[in-house]
């Protein structure tokens, strides 16, 4: 809290100072630096207009929309099964997880429930897409801080996870596999054993990152105490997922959400960190990958037999009503508010994506930090451009 106050105070002073200087002739005015939209550190096309005083940030103003695809409008002219194709592209690193809350919301309106086997497979893929997503973060954060090697390890090991997702769904990036009332296909032969082997790899990858990145002194100096987000500020900005858990908020929708996934039948732990800084965000995500491995392992051991599809009509019409379903996606809470009027198409879909809220805190958190920290904070907040712009 003290640090937060001092950050704010600092930025206030910096503001005052830059304002005062404008009135003096021959002033050294602040510099406006335009980070992006084509910038190596923004994973896509986010643009941040940073006003600098020396190397210190006076104000940061993210500008987006370079990749806005209008999904909320497009969903109004797509049938419910077609919408999953769209929402796959929101968070493209953990695509399958995007489909899940939408399908769950539609299922809630239709009052159908997927059979147990479908739910278990769904959860397994949900967690695998989390691993595929966050593993890349674990490497990418290091490369943003200048260590080139971890990201190659991340790409190497993520490949195996993608292979497993591909062998079930047929798609590496955009599975489009979830269906209202179940899933499209059953698991292929030998998949369970292969996935277990992959999980061993991912675990050793996590240990590697623990040694190579978390244990690295320079990494710690660069991230500890940088970009501190107190819990109450984070909540009021709508931060979610690992970002808010690393501020000490013990809240995970997989445990508390009560939606139609089977996380409550598994033995796992919600990790939190009291610090709320960049290091905490990295650390919590590292632990979450480990927990996901644990969960997938248990799921692989316990998948029940049975059908994978509930009885649903061939042409899906969703009864009138409204429903909001959110799940704990790799990037944070993702939810769909569906308004149905009883048609083939939704009347209105509000997509609540995690990164949009996660990034909306940047003007607050970037005030008063140094330029290099802008990068480490942005990297640790972990956003996907498609998830911001939708």
């Amino acid at each position: 809290m003290n640090l937060e106050a001092s950050t704010q105070q600092l930025s206030y002073i910096a503001n005052q100072a830059s304002d005062a200087r404008v009135n003096i002739e021959l002033e050294t005015e602040g510099m406006t630096l335009n980070l992006g939209p084509q910038h190596p550190a923004t994973h896509g096309t986010l643009r941040i207009i940073v006003r600098l005083d020396g190397e210190q940030v006076v104000s940061a103003d993210p500008v987006m929309g370079y990749m806005h695809r209008g999904y909320e409008k497009l969903t109004e002219v797509r049938t419910y099964p077609q919408v999953t194709t769209l929402v796959n592209r929101i968070d493209w690193l953990g695509s399958f997880a995007n489909e899940v809350p939408f399908i769950l919301a539609a299922e809630r309106l239709m009052e159908v429930e997927a059979p147990p086997r479908a739910q278990w497979i769904r959860t397994a893929l949900f967690e695998l897409s989390r691993i595929a997503n966050v593993v890349l973060f674990l490497g990418d954060m290091a490369v943003q801080l200048g260590a080139t090697t971890p990201v190659f390890y991340a790409f190497r090991d993520r490949e195996f996870v993608l292979n497993q997702i591909e062998s079930v769904t047929g798609g590496r990036f955009h599975p489009n596999f979830d269906r209202i009332g179940g899933i499209k296909d059953d698991l292929p032969k030998g998949w369970i054993q292969e996935t277990k082997d992959v999980l061993v790899r991912i675990r050793s990858f996590c240990d590697e990152m623990q040694d190579l990145v978390v244990g690295n002194e320079i990494f710690q100096t660069r991230t500890r105490g940088i970009g501190i987000i107190p819990a109450d500020i984070g909540l009021s900005y709508g931060l979610s997922g690992a970002n808010i858990r690393s501020s000490g908020v013990d809240w995970d929708l997989r445990r508390d959400g009560g939606v139609g996934l089977i996380h409550d039948q598994l033995d796992w732990k919600v990790w939190t960190h009291p610090d709320g800084d960049s290091f905490a965000r990295y650390w919590v995500r590292l632990q979450e990958v480990r927990e996901s491995c644990k969960m997938v392992d248990q799921i692989l051991d316990g998948i029940p037999s049975g059908p994978i599809m509930a009885k649903v009509p061939r042409i899906i019409k969703v009864p009138p009503g409204e429903a909001y379903v959110e799940t704990e996606n790799p990037l944070g809470i993702m939810g769909y508010y569906i308004v149905s009027k009883g048609d083939l198409v939704p009347y209105r879909v509000k997509i609540r994506s995690a990164s949009f809220n996660n990034v909306s805190i940047t003007p607050w958190v970037l005030k008063g930090v140094y330029v290099p920290d802008v990068i480490s904070i942005l990297a640790s907040l972990y956003f996907i451009l498609g998830d911001i712009d939708r």
Partner: protein, 345 residues
């Protein structure tokens, strides 16, 4: 005795040509070796990939392909760039590299120049590159370049001091500023009366060696000290606006300087061209000396590149703190201790 003694009998212009060619070789060969061996191959193996494999056996001709690519590229200028400064900057940086190579002795008679203030000369010319980098940062008229250039200037000035101070221990122990004589001092030295391996200053000046390595790493703006060219925040700093040939010059400058600094470290701390067990005045050393020096250089630069591929980067203020609060006091302590011990023994 050797080609160098032979050269004395040649005309001045002939000597000049031979020296220029040898100078080019001494700068370009280490640079190429380092890029291929470490940047292409070692880095790839550390990152569980193969690196270039197509051009030549094991990608050994990749370097030529890269040079060819850069030479083909258009020489672009930003519209608002300060043209003269922008054009001159890479040459200033490269000039520093070429001047630096002059003081390196590669054998008892194999040297470009043999001056009594060799160490002083080396440290002086190595700082010229700061001017080149500042010129590049300013001349590009890009904010990223300017920030990068200023950061680089601040960093190079800060690490110049530990670099100099770390060598002072060596100078005190050898009792001379002449690089050749420092090598001979190590070759003829004894460790408590045992002269089996001479007395490489690595042993007595280990602290100095470590400080020197860290400072060199910073002078080269390599990770963990690559804040001036941090690609994830200021694109590539002062290199942002450079393309083609001029970028290539900067690139050569960077790696050649890495090689020469490693060779300097090898000379000051590992005994230079000398290998234990032989007579340092042996004529043989004029032949194998350069090879020995390159071998030791590769050893030292292995360390530099190992750090480079492993560590994330320091922030600019943390990096300044490391220089002023840790390295400078440590090297001062080293100087005092060396001085006292020198008097005592």
């Amino acid at each position: 005795m050797t080609i160098f003694n032979l050269a004395i009998e040649l005309a001045y212009w002939q000597q000049t040509i031979i020296r220029s060619v040898l100078g080019l070789v001494a700068v370009l060969l280490p640079a190429g070796t380092l890029v291929y061996l470490y940047l292409f191959k070692m880095m790839s193996f550390m990152q569980s990939r193969l690196g270039p494999m197509e051009a030549g056996p094991y990608g050994s001709l990749q370097l030529l392909a890269e040079v060819g690519k850069f030479l083909q590229k258009e020489d672009l200028f930003p519209r608002t760039a300060d043209r003269v400064v922008f054009k001159a900057a890479p040459f200033v940086v490269l000039a520093s590299t070429f001047l630096l190579v002059l003081v390196l002795p590669a054998g008892p008679d194999a040297w470009f120049i043999n001056i009594d203030t060799g160490v002083f000369f080396a440290l002086a010319v190595s700082s010229i590159s700061v001017i080149g980098i500042l010129m590049a940062g300013w001349g590009s008229s890009s904010k990223y370049s300017l920030i990068g250039g200023l950061r680089a200037a601040g960093q190079l000035v800060a690490y110049e001091l530990p670099l100099v101070l770390a060598l002072m221990g060596v100078v005190i122990q050898a009792g001379t500023l002449n690089v050749q004589e420092i090598v001979l001092a190590q070759a003829n030295g004894e460790i408590f009366g045992w002269g089996g391996i001479g007395n490489p200053f690595l042993i007595t000046q280990f602290l100095g060696f470590m400080i020197f390595l860290v400072a060199v790493q910073a002078e080269l703006t390599q990770p963990p000290f690559d804040m001036p060219v941090a690609e994830s925040e200021i694109v590539t700093g002062y290199l942002t606006e450079y393309t083609g040939m001029r970028f290539l010059l900067f690139f050569i400058g960077e790696f050649a300087t890495a090689g020469i600094f490693s060779a300097l470290a090898a000379t000051f701390f590992l005994g230079g061209w000398y290998i234990p067990g032989l007579d340092p005045t042996d004529n043989l050393f004029n032949l194998i000396g350069p090879l020995v020096l390159v071998g030791k250089m590769l050893l030292v630069s292995f360390l530099i590149f190992w750090f480079r591929f492993t560590y994330p980067r320091f922030r600019e203020d943390q990096l300044q703190q490391l220089a002023w609060k840790v390295l400078v006091p440590l090297s001062l302590v080293n100087i005092v201790a060396t001085g006292v011990l020198k008097v005592v023994f």
